[in-house]
């Protein structure tokens, strides 16, 4: 499988990930806010993040849809996934006093270890797509446009 095809698949998976998780959080905002309150962070920050994270995810997904903003979307994806991955790593290393419950979507049904592996995979795909994007403008093999 060549690099271009892997990049195209990465983009598809990232769009799916961010559209699903953002919609899931917004559709269950009460539940997500409760989950955020149970994270080992200050109360005011949990409330703010419960609003900011879904918005950041939507913006990332939308950015990935347009070739002109794809690089920005990939950078945003890199920042979001790196932050989540770092946070999960801290949790698994018992950096915090308790292990909180996980947050949203399919991720509330999986363990923190599985969550970490998925994040690492998505992060690797983001880095791969970013490196391709920085070489030349992205051209998907499925490059239909409207």
């Amino acid at each position: 499988m060549n690099r271009k095809r892997i990049t195209a698949i990465s983009l598809c998976l990232l769009v799916l990930l961010f559209s699903y998780t953002s919609a899931d959080k917004l559709l269950n905002l009460d539940r997500f806010t409760t989950s955020m309150y149970n994270q080992p962070i200050p109360h005011w920050l949990a409330y703010a993040l419960a609003r900011l994270i879904p918005v950041a995810e939507i913006l990332t997904a939308v950015s990935l849809l347009f070739p002109a903003t794809q690089r920005l979307g990939l950078l945003s994806s890199f920042i979001l996934l790196s932050t989540f991955t770092l946070y999960i790593t801290f949790i698994l290393l018992h950096f915090f006093r308790k292990i909180p419950c996980s947050c949203a979507g399919i991720f509330r049904h999986i363990t923190w270890q599985q969550h970490l592996w998925i994040n690492l995979l998505m992060l690797a795909l983001t880095v791969l797509a970013l490196s391709t994007a920085s070489q030349k403008p992205l051209r998907s093999p499925l490059n239909h446009s409207i």
């Binding site: 769009v15 699903y20 899931d24 269950n28 539940r31 347009f66 998907s140 499925l142 446009s145």
Partner: protein, 110 residues
């Protein structure tokens, strides 16, 4: 906005539809929530959001609500047990009488 990758748009729509299809079932009636912090003996804290209506609590009998509707207080029947979101049951005398959501005092349960 000149060019949009249509297959990515389809995937995004699919993601939103999947999230919509996977959302938790909606309660048949208007739901009132009672939210509070629980502090364990080891000092760890857990935030609970209790769905009163879905659990069969009756407004005006078991609890009362003042505007905004999310602010509710238990007023009667303290011996009824109740399940929280983690599946643990408790009695109303275990829950604080004042705090709801982020408007109350949360360091009540020691």
């Amino acid at each position: 906005m000149r060019k949009m990758k249509i297959h990515l748009l389809c995937i995004a729509v699919f993601g939103i539809c999947a999230a919509f299809a996977n959302r938790p079932p909606k309660a048949l009636q208007q739901m009132d929530h009672y939210a509070y912090w629980y502090t364990s003996t080891d000092g760890s804290r857990m935030y609970y959001l209790v769905d009163l209506t879905a659990q069969g609590w009756v407004q005006g009998i078991d609890y009362d609500c003042i505007p905004p509707q999310s602010i509710c207080t238990f007023i009667a029947n303290p011996i009824r047990s109740h399940n929280d979101l983690s599946g643990t049951w408790f009695f109303t005398w275990d829950v604080p009488q004042s705090g709801i959501d982020d408007t109350g005092v949360f360091d009540m349960m020691q």
